[in-house]
Each structure stands twice: as C-alpha cells, then as structure tokens.
C-alpha cells in the first residue's frame, strides 16, 4: 500500500475535490470531508517522513511509462530537497479546514485540488509531469481568488494568473528545448530529471532556456522585480488561499529552481547566480521597506512574505551546502510562521471585520492566548533563535557570506528590516489602547487552540531540535551542490573569494 | 503572320473589355464588356489550337454564364439610383493599380523567365473533342466525377438560398 503513497497523496485530494464539485453536498459535509481527506494526507505524510532515511537519493519511487514516443514518464519520488516542501503541504492543509467554517463547498473542493496538485508538483521527477501539476495548481487558486476574494479581486486574479502562466509557458518552451537537446545528444527521448542531469548544454540557446526556466520560477517565488502580482493577489485572496499561496506555492518556485534548474543548467546557474542572488536581496530589502508603509495587515504580510522569499532565494543561489540547506529549512519554517500569520490575520478579519492596522489596538489584553501565538509566529518570522526562523536564516546568511561578502551583508540586513515592520504592526495591533472594535475580540476557542498548537509547537521544535529535519535534507543538499561544483569550479572560484572589506563598512 | 495580328487584336480587345468591366459604373455595361473579353479569349484559345475549349468558352462562358448574369441583372431591374455612388472610385483605382503593380511585375518577371521558344506545330488532333475527351475520361476521371458533386452542391445551394423554403414548424 505504501508503495503508492505519493500517488494516493496526490490523487486522493484531487479526486475528492472533483467529486465534491460534481455532487451536490452541503457545505458542512464538504468541510468535514475535506478535513478527513487532508488528515489522511497528513497521516501519510507523517508516516512518509518518519520512514524517510536521509541518504540523499530518491525514495518512494514510482515510475511508469506514460507517453512513450517522447519518453515522458509518470515518475514520482521524494528526496531531501522535496521532503520538507512536501511535508509543509501535507501538514498545513488540515488547519484551513478546521478554522474557516463560513466558506462554500466549492472553496473546500478547490483547496483539496490545490493540495493534490501541489503535492504532485513537488513529487514529480519528470519535467513534463511537473509542468502539468505546476499549471494545474494555479487553477484552484484562480477560482478561489476570483470567486471568494475581496472587492478588488478581479484585477488581482487576472494579474496573478496571466503573469504566472506567462512565466510557466516560457518554461514549457525551455523544458521542451531541454528534452530535444537530450534527444539530440543521446538519441533517446526522456524528461526524467535524473537522466537530464547528464545533459551538456552550451551556447546562446542554453542561456535563453535557462532564463526562461528562471522566469517561471522567479515569477512564482516571486523574485524582484517580478513580484508585482503578489501584493494584490495576497491581499485580495481569501485568507486560506493567501495561506496556500505564501506557505506552499511560492515555495514550489524555489523548489523548482533547486530540483530542475540546477541539475540541467549547472554552468548557466553558476554564471548568473550572482545576478539572481542580487535580485533576491534587493527584493528582500525592497519588499521589506514597502511593508512598513502598508496600512492593511494582510498586505503588509504579503510584502513580508515576498521579502522572506527573497532571502530564501538567495540561499539557493549561493551554491554552498549551508545556504542550500538553510533555504530548504527556511521553506518549511517560513510556511509555518508567515503562513500561520496569514491565518491569524484572517481570524482577526473574520471576528472584527477589519484588518486595517489603524483600526485595531490592544488585542493582547483581550486575547492573551491569541496574542502569544501570534507573537511566537511573528518572532519565528523575524528569525529569533529558538524558533524555526532562525536556523534557516542563519544558514543562509552564513552561506551568503561565503558566496559573496556584499551579498552576505545585504542578506544580513533582513535581520533588521524584518523586525522593523513586524514590531510596528505588533505595537499597533496588539499593544496600545483597545477600542470598541477590539473590545469584543474573543480569544481563541479550544478547537482553534488545538488547531494552532501543533504548528506553534512545530515552530519551537524546529528551532530547538532542527537536526531531526536537517539530517534528512542535508545529504541531498550535499549532492546537489556537488553536482554544480565539478563542472563549474573554475567559474565559481573567483566569486567566492571572501572579501571582508565589504562587510564592515557600516560602522 | 495573320496569327500574330489576330493575337494582338484579340488581346487588345480583351484588355479593353476587362478595363471596361472595371471602369463602367453600371453592371450591365460591365457585363457587356466582359463578354467582349470572353469572346476575344475564345479567339485566343482557337489560336492556341484548343478547339474544344474555344467552343466551350463561347458556349459555356460567353453563352451560359454571362447570359445568366445578364438575366439576373435585368431580373433585379437595377436602376442607376440603386447603384452605389462610388465617388472615390478613381482614387481606389489608382491606389489599386499601385498595389497590384508589384504582383503584376512579379508575375511578368516570372513569365519572362521562360525561354522564349517559338511554338511548334502541333498535330491536327491537338485540342479536339475526341482527344481531350479521352484524356478527360482516362486521366482525369476523378476530378470530373467530383465536379458533379460540386454542381450538385451548387444546385442545392441555389435552391436553399434563393428558392422557396418549407420551414420546420
């Protein structure tokens, strides 16, 4: 039975979601059904996580021919790179079903479809299969924002959809280019990522294909300056969708870079890593600065999320095992912290009818449990040691310093930038005086506490005992970095010379 | 020599007729000049020793098709006031000539590229009814057969479009 675990994790939610759409069932029933399905997925995910041994290779493989004339296969598998992303998407979904009770049936169905397709994108080892899931996962998002979103949802929906599809279509052309190149070099068709690693690309088209791949992922992550869809979409989307977008979908962008770009385009990756890491830090700073000026809490979190994604992306481009592991770890950490913050904001909006920072105040006195949870998630998001956020951020900065001193310094400023807007928001919302709107804010109910508690515990656990996670992902990161290095050592050497002169300029 | 003379006469006539078609405002005049063109073309076919086509051009084209057109023009009783004003016609003509000149010059260039060999004398059977008929029914049977289908479609179509209709009530 566990042989097909991944397939079940993918198709159980998708089929359940489709069935939910097709058959007339009530809202409550669909919520419960969704909850059950996501819990099943969660249990399978936990089982899978526990059974996973950190050897660096793929496990839980499924591989069947699909379209043989082009060597496209139905290939699934999990390794250290995808493990945490997979776990994130398995762990976080039940919360959504448990918290929000006021949505329609279609919403729950779309959530399930989103979950299934995201897991599919995470597990796929075949480029085409990945692409298919990658596109499918946008559809439920599109419908969720469009149907259940805020007042300005239409432009936001269009922008996210067309923008991201434009990016993915570029990737489509690039991935076909990769497949054709493989065919030209080895005489056989395949889109299996492991075999494509053997490919030896060069020349202008390879650079073009690399940038087309990166365009898709850069838009999804989103990297500066391709982030402009993000604030609108995150703000207008219903909370659970924002949660899914920020906690999981953005991460699949980063994951895609690691899984699909690095093995194929080692040379181009090493060549342009500095450019993209610069985009990452600039985006981190830019979005972080923009966050301080936001009045809408959700929009602020949206910018904060973009800012964090920038730093996660930096970790990927630094091409050393610390930074890469840090990014992989931070993927999960960010999902638990910022993602949960989005849920909290959603709760506040649901209870008080406003998420405008200026309208709120003094919630900490009314709802100590809520405030504590919020504070823990917030502190994780600013990277306080002892929470999940620290490990990843530290590793990324550490790696970035090795990669390039200046980038390292800029990446380090995330320590400051993040804390500025977060504290500012926390002050306005949780401290200061209560008003009539916040006076009636009720603290978390027992069921809600039980929902959030695991994640809060997870945030702490990932900060205090991160090694349990890192042992599973680190070997894969080692392999991945090793893959870049043999071919590109000479290219990289000049960029990794440590230049401490850069780093002490701000005294 | 006479063949060349005839050629020039017919070609001038046909070009004049075609120009008349393009220039005359009333379709009736246009139709009449088109008939001139067609008859001249028939003459040219004869000069090219395509006897059957010469006959068919006269009967089918100049005869049947053009009389059908004339018939319809008269049937509809087109008055001058019914005709479009076409005030800017000459601008369109000039513009059209400018537009077409690249096409025409291209085609003429193409035609000029043919080696200018004098036509050889062909046998008397060339272009006769029997000879063409043989070719038609031996080599070109399929097109001939499916032309029947085409005519059938055209027939049904004319009925459907212009005839009385029994509606499905």
């Amino acid at each position: 039975m566990f042989e097909y675990a991944l397939s079940v994790m993918i198709f159980l939610p998708i089929l359940a979601g489709l069935a939910m759409l097709l058959f007339p069932i009530s809202r409550g029933a669909s919520r419960i059904a969704g909850m059950i399905v996501s819990l099943v997925v969660l249990l399978m995910g936990i089982e899978l996580f526990l059974g996973f041994s950190g050897t660096g290779g793929m496990q839980y493989l499924e591989n069947r021919p699909w379209i043989e004339s082009l060597g496209i296969r139905y290939g699934l598998g999990v390794d250290g790179i995808s493990l945490l992303v997979l776990m994130t998407s398995a762990v976080l979904f039940p919360m959504v079903f448990s918290i929000f009770t006021t949505r329609k049936k279609g919403y729950y169905a779309n959530l399930l479809i989103a979950q299934g397709s995201m897991i599919g994108a995470i597990c796929a080892t075949d480029l085409v299969l990945f692409y298919i899931f990658w596109e499918i996962m946008l559809l439920p998002i599109f419908f969720m924002i469009g149907i259940y979103g805020g007042p300005k949802r239409l432009p936001a929906t269009l922008k996210i959809t067309i923008y991201t599809i434009a990016g993915s279509l570029l990737m489509l052309a690039a991935l076909v280019y990769v497949g054709v190149s493989y065919h030209n070099q080895f005489g056989a068709w395949t889109f299996d990522i492991v075999q494509l690693g053997a490919l030896n690309l060069g020349g202008g088209f390879a650079v073009l294909a690399f940038f087309m791949f990166m365009a898709a992922f850069a838009i999804k992550i989103p990297l500066f300056p391709f982030h402009t869809w993000l604030p609108d979409a995150y703000t207008e989307a219903p909370t659970a969708t924002t949660f899914v977008l920020s906690a999981i979908m953005a991460k699949i962008g980063v994951y895609g870079v690691i899984r699909f770009v690095v093995p194929v385009f080692e040379i181009e990756f090493a060549r342009f890593a500095i450019l993209f890491s610069l985009a990452g830090v600039v985006g981190m700073m830019y979005c972080g600065l923009a966050a301080i000026a936001q009045k809408d809490m959700k929009r602020m979190l949206a910018f904060s999320s973009a800012s964090h994604m920038g730093i996660i992306a930096v970790g990927v481009f630094c091409m050393n095992v610390q930074a890469l592991t840090g990014s992989l770890f931070q993927i999960a950490a960010h999902a638990t912290s910022t993602g949960v913050l989005f849920l909290f904001v959603g709760l506040m909006e649901e209870r008080m009818g406003s998420r405008d920072i200026g309208d709120l105040g003094g919630i900490a006195y009314r709802a100590p449990i809520f405030a504590t949870f919020f504070a823990i998630a917030m502190l994780a998001s600013v990277g306080l040691p002892g929470t999940s956020g620290f490990i990843g951020e530290f590793l990324i900065i550490l790696g970035a310093v090795k990669f390039n001193g200046f980038i390292g310094f800029l990446a380090g400023t995330s320590l400051i930038i993040g804390v500025c807007y977060m504290l500012w928001m926390f002050q306005r919302v949780f401290f200061e005086k209560t008003n009539e709107r916040t006076l009636q804010f009720a603290d978390l109910k027992v069921s809600e506490v039980l929902t959030f508690l695991p994640v809060i515990v997870l945030i702490m656990a990932m900060g205090i005992f991160p090694q349990a996670f890192i042992t599973k992902i680190e070997p894969a990161a080692q392999l991945q970095v090793a893959q870049i290095f043999p071919t590109t050592q000479s290219d990289v050497a000049e960029t990794t010379v440590l230049t401490p002169g850069h780093t002490n300029t701000k005294n | 020599m006479s063949a060349e003379w005839l050629f020039y006469v017919f070609s001038v006539l046909s070009v004049l007729g075609a120009s008349g078609l393009v220039l005359f405002r009333h379709p009736m005049s246009g139709a009449m000049s088109l008939i001139v063109t067609m008859i001249s073309l028939a003459g040219l076919y004869a000069l090219l020793s395509a006897k059957l086509i010469f006959v068919l051009q006269l009967i089918v084209y100049a005869g049947a098709i053009m009389s059908l057109i004339l018939f319809i023009i008269m049937f509809l009783n087109i008055q001058t006031i019914d005709l479009p004003e076409e005030k800017g016609r000459f601008y369109y003509l000039v513009g059209g000539i400018i537009l077409i000149s690249p096409i025409a010059s291209f085609l003429i260039k193409v035609v000029k590229s043919l080696p200018g060999s004098e036509a050889t004398i062909v046998g008397s059977g060339f272009g006769g009814v029997k000879e063409v008929g043989l070719v038609l029914f031996q080599d070109w049977l399929l097109p001939f057969e499916i032309v029947s289908l085409l005519l059938l479609v055209s027939l049904v179509g004319a009925v459907v479009l212009a005839g009385k209709r029994r509606l499905n009530k």
């Binding site: 379209i67 067309i162 434009a166 054709v180 | 085609l107 049904v156 499905n168």
Partner: protein, 469 residues
C-alpha cells in the same frame, strides 16, 4: 479491397448526403429525423474510418484515379477528426434548431456534402482535385453560413465569405496554372520528381506555389488573409461556425501539409515565408481577439491564433518522413475544444443567439454550473493548460518546432499563448466571478448534455492518453 475500405467513409457520407437530398423532397420528414440520420451516417463513417485503420501510405484506386487520392495515417486521422466534427455538429445543430426555426433537411445534406469535400481534400494528391474538393467544401460552407436567409447578418456573412473565397479560389487556379506551366503536371508526386530532376521551371513553380499558398492561407485564416473569418463566424449560426472552425481547418491543414510535404526542397524553400506568416498570424490573431466583445468573434480570432500554431507545425514538418502527427494531434485537440465551445453556444445562445457577448454570460456558473464547468474545460484546453488536450497539442508543436531547429518560433508560440490567456480567462471570469443577471433558460435536450459530456471526456482523454502518436 483496402482501397475500397479506405474510401468507404467518403462513400458513406456521400450516400448520406444524397439520401437526405432525396428525402428533402418529402414534406413529412422532420428536421430532427434528418439530424439523427446525419448523426448516424457520420457515426458510421467514423467507425468505418476507425476500423479500417490504415497501413502505409497507399494510393487509392491507382489505376482509375491515377494516383490522385492517397490515404495514409495522417489522412485517416484528419478524416476521423472531420467525421467527429460532423457528428458533434449534428448533435449541437439538433439542439440549436429547437429554438432557431429556420432549418430544413437540406442543412444536414449540405453539411454532409461539405464533409465529402473535406474528406476528398485530405486525400487529394493533385492540385485540381484539391481545388474542386476545396470548392465543394467551400460552396457547402457558404450555403450553411447563409442558411438563415431572413437574417441580414447571415446574408452579409455569406457575401463576404463568397466574394473573398472566390477571390482566393482564383488565386488557387492561377497558382495551379503556373505550377502546371512550370512542372507540366499537377500531381504532387510528379511535381516532386520534376523538382528533384531539375526539369521544372523554378520561377513558375515559385509563383505557382505562392498563389496556392495564398489560397490555402486564406482558408486557414492566416494573417493578412484573416479579416473575413471574424465577420463570417459572427454572421453564421453557432453550429456552422463550430463546423467551420474545426472540420474546415482540419481539411485545409491536411491538404496544406500534404502539399508542403511533397518535396523536401519545396518545403525548405518556404520556411522563411511560413515563419513570418505564422508569427504574424499568431500575434495578429491575438491582437484582433483582445478587443472583441462578442464570443464568436473572439473565438474566430482565437482560431486565427491557432492557425498560427498550426503553421508552426507546418514549418516544422519533416518532408522526408512526413507523419503529420503533431498537426493531427493539435487539430484533434483544437477541434474537440472548439466544438465543445460552439456546442455550448448553440445550446445556451437561446433564440436568435441573443446571448452572444462576454457580458451575456455573466454568472453562468451560478445558474448552470455544469455548463460553465464544461465551457471552462474547453477554454482551458484552447488556452493550453494541462492536463487538457490543448496542452499536449501545444507541447507536441513546440517539440517538433524545436526538433526542427525553430527555437525562436517555439518561444514566440509560448509568448503568444501567454497573450491569449487574457481573452480565454475573460470568459471564465465572467462566468464565475460575477452574479447572474440572466436565467439562462434553454430548451433541454439530453443529447446536448451528452454531447458536451462526451467532448469533455475527449478533452481529457486525448490529453492524458495521446494515442494518436
């Protein structure tokens, strides 16, 4: 025997057409019956085609027809698509004519004649045969376009189509004449040998092929010969538009591909030309589509874009071992989704097609969720979103383009598909993200629902199990 079997679908359809023509003389026969009859014939021909299958390329009745008809895997696939289109058009006509009462028996008869022309066109390996087949098809379609005589827009549509179509036909004739002048023959095989032996006159062939291309590009609605298609699609009734958009395009591209593939030399000489035409077609089509408010006009314009994609596939065919698989697959994928959309339009358009614009479909999902879902599936397929057939089609075209070294075209293709997202999404947005203003009542026909469902299944089936390849 094989010749006969391969020819059988054509015979079945022709027989059906003539049968219906004869039946139309009888007052008693209802239009509905005619629709069932035509469905039956299309279905029978479809299965005949499917069962016959096809081995290697074979000339049909070589002695009698002088190699003017050739059947191959590609023609079989094209034939299947055309017959399928005919079947589903009959299905959607069935429901369409329940509210729009201008139908007579001849409608189905002419539709089947059109299918005859198309089938011939796919198999034609000779220019004048192709021309006649093209004219059979075109004349039938003209008639279908203008079938609603009481409707002035339909009349306008037929006028425009007829004038421009005949204009293009004249070019085809001239092109044939020039090719005949250049190669002394009009048969594809002999043209090919003439080219390879060097006995043909290059300039004449160039001009001739150019004119033939012009006519075919016109029929395929390539830029800049696209202007008619938008007006004609709007003027014609929805099932006819669907038929035109799918079956006609299939037939035209089939003959186009056959013609191009006749000689590698010919093909390679025209790559630059086709390259630019396809690029202009894709982007021109997108730009036309963007501003449209009528659904049919948008679909017409998107048809232009899809023609552009197919032209890319034509650029990328390999004349040496031509299989046409990418073209065939894409045509099938495109046909299924387009038919689906037009079936839905036929069904939901209401009397006199009163629901025709984007705005008219606001809130459809609230009232008729299943219809809206089906339309969404079709639109996504046209937009090329996985896992639908449209995606795989696009995938194959990109693959073949890159394999043929046309990476730039592949990139332009994806850019163009990104642009095309806007107008497909616009309809989805209108259907889902707005409140319903209309009750969308329509005369229920179980057939329409079944047909749409079958098409939805086809969209996914073709997408997930691309057996054509």
């Amino acid at each position: 025997m094989h010749d006969f079997l391969s020819f059988l679908p054509f015979l079945i359809i022709g027989a059906g057409a003539i049968l219906l023509m004869l039946l139309s003389a009888f007052e008693k026969i209802q239009v509905e019956i005619a629709s069932f009859v035509s469905m039956g014939f299309f279905g029978a021909a479809f299965f005949a085609q499917l069962l016959v299958g096809c081995g290697p390329e074979a000339s049909l009745f070589a002695k009698v027809f002088n190699g003017m008809l050739v059947s191959s895997n590609f023609t079989m696939v094209a034939g299947l698509i055309i017959l399928g289109c005919g079947f589903f058009t009959a299905v959607s006509s069935h429901s369409y004519f329940k509210v729009n009462l201008f139908c007579t028996l001849e409608f189905y008869c002419i539709m089947m004649f059109a299918a005859c022309g198309m089938l011939l066109l796919t198999m034609a390996q000779e220019l004048i045969t192709a021309f006649i087949a093209l004219e059979i098809m075109s004349l039938s379609i003209y008639i279908l376009v203008g079938y609603d005589r009481a409707n002035v827009t339909a009349t306008e549509a037929i006028l425009k189509y007829l004038i421009l179509g005949a204009f293009a036909g004249a070019f085809f004739t001239m092109g044939t004449a020039l090719i005949y002048g250049g190669a002394a023959t009009t048969k594809f095989v002999e043209i090919s040998t003439a080219i390879s032996s060097g006995s043909a006159s290059q300039p004449l062939l160039l001009a001739g092929v150019f004119f033939v291309f012009v006519a075919l590009l016109f029929k395929a609605a390539a830029f800049p010969f696209h202007a008619w298609v938008i007006d004609v699609y709007e003027g014609a009734s929805a099932p006819v538009t669907g038929f035109m958009a799918t079956a006609l395009k299939t037939a035209v591209f089939a003959v186009f591909a056959n013609f191009l593939a006749l000689s590698g030399e010919l093909h390679s000489g025209w790559i630059t030309f086709l390259f630019w035409v396809s690029v202009l077609t894709m982007f021109g089509g997108n730009l036309v589509a963007i501003g449209q408010s009528s659904l049919k006009r948008m679909l017409a314009a998107s048809g232009i874009v899809h023609s552009g994609y197919l032209l890319i596939a034509l650029v990328a065919i390999s004349a040496d071992h031509f299989t046409g698989s990418a073209i065939g697959y894409y045509l099938a994928a495109y046909a299924v989704s387009t038919l689906g959309i037009f079936a839905a339009l036929s069904y939901l358009g209401g009397e006199g097609e009163k629901r025709a614009t984007f705005d008219d479909f606001k809130g459809l999902a609230k009232v008729r969720p299943y219809s809206a879902a089906a339309i969404t599936v079709f639109l996504l397929s046209m937009a090329g979103i996985p896992p639908t057939a449209g995606f795989m089609g696009k995938f194959y075209i990109i693959t073949s383009a890159i394999s043929a070294g046309q990476t730039a075209l592949a990139v332009l293709l994806v850019v163009s598909s990104a642009f095309s997202m806007w107008y497909y999404l616009r309809l989805i947005i209108n259907m889902y993200f707005h409140e319903a203003e209309d009750s969308f009542e329509s005369i229920g026909s179980p057939l329409a629902g079944a047909g749409t469902l079958a098409l939805v299944v086809c969209v996914f089936a073709i997408g997930l199990y691309p057996i054509v390849l």
